[in-house]
C-alpha cells in the first residue's frame, strides 16, 4: 500500500568537489549513503582521520556536562522549552567562537577545583583524627622525643586496656588517657628508649595504633610549617579550620568563574553540533570509492526526492555524473513509509513492530481506524479524552516538538478525540454518565458491550485475512489466496450466521469454504497427505476463535475505567460529609483519583490496543523485517538545525 519507491543513486564526481557534494547531501538529508563495494569495483578507499575532531567533541561534551549545573532547571521549564534553534547557514559562524580557550578555561577550573576538594577532604580527615586529642593541653614541641624518652600518642581498643595497664606496671611506660569514646581510648604514652624495642613490640601485639604529629609528617605540609613549638592540639585544629575556610572561599570563587563560563554553554552547544556534523561528513567520505581523480558514491533515495536531489547537485553538474536505477532483486533497499497526514501518527505503531519486508505492504492505514476505535473503547471516559487531547494540543502549540515526539503527541491527540466520542457514547464524563447521549451502558448491559467488542474483533480478524489474500494475489500465489484465505473469508461469517440463524444456506457456504481449505491448504502432492494436511489446517478455526475472544478485553478495560471513576466520585461524596474540610478533601480526591485513573486507563488502553494489532491482526498478513531509511543528514545533540 504505502511504501515509498526507493531508487539507487550513483554519483561519480571529480575528487575536488567530493566534500562539497557530501556537504550538500548532508544539508538535504535525502540520501542514505551506502558503503562502496571497493573490491568488486576495484576502487580505493580513502583513509580518514577524525581523531582530533573526536577528541574536541569529547572535550566539548565533557565541558557541557560539567557546566550543566548552571542550567536553569525546573519542571515546567524543562517541559516547555525545546532545544535551541540554529539556522543552518550560521554553522560557519558558530565556529568563529573561540571555544578552545573556553574549554581550556573550564578544564583548568575543573582541575583546580578537584585539587581543592581533595585537599579539603584531607584536612577534614586530619581534623577528625585530631579531635580526640583536643583536650591535650601540651604544646606540640613537648611531644617530641628527648634523649632518653619516646613520646607517642595513639588509640587503643577499649578491650585492650588491661594489657596496657599491665605493661605500665611491668615496663618503664607511663600513659595518660586523653579521651575515650565507645570503641577506643586515646592515649598519651611516654616510655624510656632503653626498653623501646620491647615496648614497641608489645604495643604492636595490643594493636595500638600510633599517630605521628611531627615525624613522619602526617599533617598537611603547609600546615606544619605554620605550627609552632608552643601550639597545642587545639591551636593546630584552629589553624586547619582557618585553612579550610580559605580553601572553601577559593572554591566559591572558582564556582563564580565557572558560572560565568556557564554563559558560554549555548555557544559550546552550537560548536559541538557543528563539529559533530563535520565528523559525520568526514566519516561518510570513507564510504566513498576513489580513483586518482574521481570519487564514487552510492546510496538510496526516495523516488519522489530524485528531482530535488538533481537540482541540489546542479551547481556541480560540470564535474559530476548522476545515475539512478531501481533496486535489483538481490538488493535490500531501506523502507520508507508514506501515508496521508491523518495516518502518519499511526506509523509509530508499525515502526514499533518493525518495518515491512520488501514486497510486503505498509499496515499503518489498515490498523489506524481499529487502533483509534479500540483505545477509545478501552478508556471510554470522555473527560479523560478531552484532557489528553487538550494537553497534547497545548504541548504541540507551545513546545513545538519535532520528529518522533511530534508524531506521538499527534497520536495522543487523536486518541483523546476518539476517547471523547466513545466515552460519551458508552462511558461518561468523569464518572457521570450522560444518559441521553449514550447508546449502551456497559454497567447495565455488559453482554451487549461484549458482543460489540467481539464483533469488532471479528471484523478486524476477517479484514486481516482479506489483506493476506490480497497479499497472496499480489505475489502470484493464486490457489492459496483464493481457496485457502478465500475459504476462511467465506467460512468465518457463514459459520457465525449458521450458528446464529441456522439457515441451511449458511451451512452450505461454510462447507464450501471448508472444502477450499481442505483441498488447497497443504502443498503436498500426495493426495492423502494433502487431504489430511488440509483437514488439519481446518483446526486453525480454534486460533480464529481465540483471536476473536481476545477482543473481549475491550469490555474489561472499558468497564474498569468506568467503575474506578465511579469509585472516585463515591469517595468524594463520602468525603463531602466530613465537616469543615470535607469540600477540600473531596476536591483532592476528585483531582488525584481521576488523574490516577486517567494514567492507568490510557496506559492500559494503549498497550492492549497495540497488542491486538500486533498479535491478533498482524499475525494474519504482515511480516516485518525491512531496514529503516537512515539518510545522511545533519545530526544534532544539543541544538536543532532549522
Amino acid at each position: 500500500m504505502s511504501i515509498a519507491q526507493v531508487q539507487k543513486v550513483q554519483v561519480v564526481a571529480h575528487s575536488g568537489v567530493k566534500m562539497e557534494i557530501l556537504s550538500a547531501l548532508q544539508e538535504e538529508g535525502l540520501v542514505q549513503v551506502e558503503k562502496t563495494d571497493f573490491e568488486e569495483l576495484g576502487l580505493n578507499s580513502s583513509s580518514v582521520d577524525v581523531y582530533q575532531l573526536e577528541h574536541n567533541l569529547y572535550r566539548l561534551s565533557h565541558a557541557l556536562d560539567y557546566l550543566s549545573r548552571w542550567e536553569e532547571t525546573g519542571f515546567a521549564k524543562k517541559l516547555f522549552t525545546s532545544k535551541t534553534r540554529m539556522e543552518r547557514e550560521k554553522r560557519k559562524e558558530a565556529l568563529g567562537f573561540d571555544y578552545l580557550s573556553v574549554l581550556n578555561e573550564v578544564e583548568k577550573i575543573e582541575a583546580k577545583k578537584n585539587e581543592l576538594l581533595s585537599e579539603l577532604r584531607f584536612l577534614k580527615k586530619e581534623m577528625e583524627f585530631l579531635d580526640p586529642f583536643k583536650s591535650l593541653e601540651l604544646p606540640l614541641g613537648l611531644l617530641k622525643p628527648t634523649e632518653t624518652t619516646q613520646v607517642l600518642i595513639g588509640s587503643l581498643l577499649v578491650s585492650r586496656k588491661e594489657g596496657l595497664q599491665k605493661m605500665s606496671e611491668e615496663e618503664g611506660l607511663w600513659y595518660e588517657v586523653v579521651s575515650r569514646d565507645k570503641r577506643k581510648y586515646y592515649l598519651l604514652l611516654v616510655y624510656h628508649k632503653k626498653c623501646g624495642e620491647r615496648v614497641e613490640q608489645m604495643l604492636r601485639e595490643l594493636h595500638f595504633s600510633p599517630f605521628y604529629f611531627t615525624e613522619p609528617v602526617q599533617i598537611a605540609e603547609p600546615l606544619l610549617s605554620k605550627t609552632e613549638e608552643q601550639d597545642r592540639v587545639k591551636d593546630v585544629m584552629r589553624k586547619i579550620d582557618e585553612e579550610m575556610q580559605i580553601k572553601r572561599e577559593k572554591l566559591e570563587d572558582l564556582d563564580n568563574e565557572e558560572k560565568k563560563l556557564g554563559e558560554h554553554r549555548e555557544h559550546l552547544m552550537r560548536v559541538h553540533d557543528v563539529l559533530l556534523n563535520e565528523k559525520e561528513r568526514i566519516f561518510c567520505s570513507s564510504l566513498l570509492g576513489e580513483t586518482e581523480r574521481a570519487a564514487y558514491l552510492e546510496g538510496w533515495v526516495c523516488s519522489s526526492d530524485v528531482k530535488k536531489l538533481k537540482s541540489k547537485l546542479q551547481p556541480y553538474s560540470e564535474v559530476t555524473e548522476l545515475y539512478f536505477r531501481d533496486p535489483l532483486p538481490e538488493e535490500d533497499p531501506p523502507v520508507v513509509l508514506e501515508n496521508p497526514k491523518p495516518g502518519k501518527p499511526f506509523e509509530l505503531i508499525t515502526k514499533l513492530y518493525g518495518l515491512p519486508q520488501r514486497g510486503s505492504f505498509d499496515p499503518t492505514l489498515p490498523l489506524a481506524p481499529f487502533f483509534f476505535l479500540f483505545v477509545g473503547l478501552c478508556v471510554s471516559e470522555a473527560g479523560y479524552g478531552l484532557l489528553v487531547a487538550l494537553l497534547s494540543f497545548l504541548f504541540i502549540k507551545f513546545a513545538k516538538p519535532r520528529g518522533g515526539l511530534l508524531q506521538f503527541l499527534k497520536l495522543l491527540a487523536l486518541l483523546g478525540i476518539s476517547t471523547v466520542i466513545l466515552g460519551t457514547l458508552v462511558g461518561g464524563w468523569f464518572g457521570f454518565p450522560v444518559r441521553p447521549l449514550m447508546i449502551l451502558d456497559p454497567l447495565q448491559d455488559p453482554l451487549s458491550f461484549l458482543y460489540l467488542a467481539l464483533a469488532l474483533g471479528f471484523i478486524q480478524v476477517w479484514f486481516g485475512t482479506l489483506l493476506s489474500m490480497v497479499n497472496g494475489l499480489k505475489n502470484k500465489r493464486y490457489l492459496q489466496a483464493i481457496f485457502v484465505q478465500g475459504g476462511w473469508l467465506l467460512l468465518l461469517p457463514s459459520l457465525v450466521l449458521y450458528l446464529a440463524k441456522k439457515g441451511s444456506i449458511w451451512g452450505i457456504l461454510t462447507l464450501a469454504g471448508a472444502a477450499g481449505i481442505i483441498f488447497f491448504a497443504s502443498p503436498s502432492r500426495n493426495p492423502f497427505a494433502r487431504f489430511f494436511g488440509g483437514l488439519y489446517s481446518l483446526y486453525d478455526i480454534s486460533r480464529y476463535l481465540a483471536d476473536v475472544l481476545s477482543y473481549s478485553r475491550l469490555l474489561a478495560l472499558g468497564l474498569a475505567t468506568t467503575v474506578i471513576a465511579m469509585v472516585v466520585n463515591n469517595l468524594c461524596q463520602t468525603a463531602l460529609g466530613i465537616p469543615w474540610i470535607g469540600w477540600l478533601l473531596a476536591a483532592l480526591i476528585f483531582v488525584g483519583g481521576h488523574l490516577f485513573n486517567l494514567g492507568i486507563s490510557f496506559l492500559g488502553g494503549f498497550v492492549h490496543s497495540m497488542r491486538l494489532q500486533f498479535v491478533e491482526f498482524f499475525s494474519k498478513f504482515f511480516k516485518a523485517g525491512g531496514s529503516p531509511f537512515k539518510p545522511f543528514e545533519l545530526k544534532s545533540k544539543f541544538v536543532e538545525f532549522i
Binding site: 469490555l555 474489561a556 468497564l559 467503575v563 465511579m566 492500559g604 498497550v607 492492549h608 497495540m610 497488542r611
Partner: protein, 157 residues
C-alpha cells in the same frame, strides 16, 4: 442470610487481597530491577516507571471487582440486600477468576517487567517492546476480570 452475606464479602475481600498480593510482588520485582538500573543511569526514571507500574493492574482489577461486589450487596448505597447462602457462595466463586488469575499473573508479569527493565537498560529505544511482552501476561488477568464481571452481573439477588 448472614452466612450468605459473609461469604459474598469474603469473595470481595479475596479479590482485593490476592490481586493485591500478585501486584505487590510483581511491582516489587520490577521496582528492584529498575532501582539497580537507575543506580547506573538515573535519567531512565521515566521510562522505567512505566514498566514498574505495569504489574500494578491486577491489584486494581481486584479492587474493582470488590467494589462491584459491594455495589451488589448494597454496601455502597443505603439499603443492604439480603443474600441467601447459595447466592453468597455464588458471589464468592465469581470472585475466584480475578483473584487467582490476578495473583499468579501479577507475579509473572513482574518477572517479565523486571527483565524488560534490564533490556531497556541496554536498548533504551525499545521501551515499548517489553511493555507489550508484559501485556501478553496481563491478558489473563483481564480475562479473569472479565469473567468475574460477567458472573457478578449474572447473579440475581
Amino acid at each position: 442470610m448472614a452466612l450468605g452475606f459473609t461469604l459474598a464479602v469474603f469473595g470481595g475481600a479475596l479479590a482485593v487481597v490476592l490481586g493485591g498480593i500478585g501486584s505487590a510482588i510483581g511491582v516489587g520485582l520490577a521496582g528492584q530491577a529498575s532501582s539497580g538500573v537507575m543506580s547506573e543511569d538515573p535519567g531512565k526514571f521515566g521510562s522505567l516507571l512505566l514498566l514498574v507500574a505495569l504489574p500494578g493492574t491486577q491489584g486494581i482489577y481486584g479492587f474493582l471487582s470488590a467494589f462491584l461486589v459491594m455495589l451488589k450487596l448494597g454496601l455502597v448505597g443505603e439499603v443492604l440486600k439480603s443474600v441467601s447462602v447459595y447466592q453468597g457462595w455464588q458471589i464468592l466463586i465469581a470472585c475466584f477468576p480475578v483473584a487467582f488469575a490476578g495473583l499468579v499473573s501479577g507475579i509473572h508479569q513482574g518477572k517479565v517487567c523486571a527483565s524488560g527493565v534490564y533490556m531497556v537498560a541496554k536498548q533504551p529505544k525499545d521501551l515499548m517492546k517489553p511493555v507489550i511482552m508484559a501485556a501478553l501476561v496481563e491478558t489473563y488477568a483481564v480475562l479473569g476480570l472479565l469473567i468475574t464481571i460477567l458472573l457478578l452481573n449474572g447473579i440475581q439477588l
